[in-house]
Subunit: 313 residues, 2 copies
Amino acid sequence: MAEVLVVGSVAFDSVETPFGKADNVLGGAASFFSLAAGLFTPVRLVATVGADFPDDFVRHFVARGIDLGGLERRADGATFRWVGDYGYDLNIAHTIDTQLNVFADFAPQLPENYRDTKFVYLANILPSLQLDVLSQVRNPEFVGLDSMNFWIENPKTKAILSQVIERVDAVFMNDTEIRQYTGQYNLIAAGRAVLAQGPKVVLIKKGEHGAIALSPHGLFVTSAFPLDAPRDPTGAGDSFAGGFMGYLAATGDTSWAGIKRAMAYGSVVASFAVEDFSVHRLLSLSLAEVCDRYAHLSDITTLEAQILDALSS
Amino acid sequence: MAEVLVVGSVAFDSVETPFGKADNVLGGAASFFSLAAGLFTPVRLVATVGADFPDDFVRHFVARGIDLGGLERRADGATFRWVGDYGYDLNIAHTIDTQLNVFADFAPQLPENYRDTKFVYLANILPSLQLDVLSQVRNPEFVGLDSMNFWIENPKTKAILSQVIERVDAVFMNDTEIRQYTGQYNLIAAGRAVLAQGPKVVLIKKGEHGAIALSPHGLFVTSAFPLDAPRDPTGAGDSFAGGFMGYLAATGDTSWAGIKRAMAYGSVVASFAVEDFSVHRLLSLSLAEVCDRYAHLSDITTLEAQILDALSS
């Protein structure tokens, strides 16, 4: 069972959806990712927070056994804050306010004992920082990468993002991001374009519509687990990546079969994450619940065997 | 192998998408439905066309063995015409022009030998006409129903639509329609609300995002077969219904297992329909190709078996 290293944001979120509201709750890509991946395997977290970051939040990570040796707590600043809301279409987030605070000059430094981590997730940060993290890890086996529209829109950061993509194994993008990055509307065509840059697999996240994986071995499509009362989609993508990378690291199986399984685990973990605000549902989640829902998802999506013999004859 | 009866529109379509353009081609819900269902089982078509309806189009139906005893050809009028276009988001149709012509006073009369048909599909027509068709069939085994926003928006026609829904076995609606009909945004909640009105199954069509079935036996979710070059989504929903009803009638298996299989066949047939404009791809389609793609869809969506024993222990 190998460890997973994640580098990304830990934040205060204030979120409103048609199903409720939560202020100053734990957010940030690295928070969702590490609490999700931590269900499967030990996680090493590299992030920065301010003096205002409460011990209660630290305890959430500790309770999942997450290694906080790379969590910088800066006395001279405040934690990153994001304020956003969603309408009924939970696939579309509206940012109301972003205060980068200590995240503005985040310069990830990996503790020496982190540098041999074999499974690495570069959450959404400045692409040049992602490159810098890659230069700090010695010989990673499998690197996953996330990004966002902000870095794709700017030609300079997009060029660096392309360099990062050429060096990683898995690229996670949502439908909007991959269309923007490739200039291709069709998701299969867009996925192939990214794949041509070198990664082993491209994971296209479609929120409540599931996800598509493309690899040189072919395509794989997962449906999202259908929910009758999702409450807050914030962090769904990073929970998906956390389940995916956590499963890969736990099993060490990076074959195409392993990647397909990892994708389904990611999808299941994400379906729990959106059941409540912030990381609340992830905190109470157990691996047994994940396995139960995996079986349930399999049940409600597996095509019945064909019995058209009578017709064909 | 039982017959399927369909009552609905046969039309001239003029369609433009980012991938091409087709003028005055064969369209209409009953056209797509019958050419799809005809892959599986004999189809009886009830529709009306004008003097301008070309023999070439008639031959398309004949070539698939469709019974045209219920196709009224009116010398005193013109065929229904629809003009529309789509942007890159093929899930959204824009109607540019509709000329009802002979469809405006369509009053479906079932030939005597059609009245004992066991599998009946009420394509999208005025709900009062759908009720009237139901009064003409003697003892149907399985009735499917489609509708549209136009009848849902008007409280009078909506009330009659509700009466039809109470009397059918399967309700086909797309995501927008079922939200509008039930006032529920969440699709699972919306599906349950329709199910509470009496049908055995509710089929929620999500276009390129697949479909969800709800029944008292549970949920079933199918992904759409991923295409890298869809060209024209017109008729996808009716092709889905045609594959579904055709399969049910061919096998006679209306159990929940049969319905799930039918849904996957419908989804596969629809994926072919959108590969070309009008009914072109359906015309060249064979049941063997449908079965091949069914197997392919199963391949790229079936979750790998769980192997988390190592983790749990």
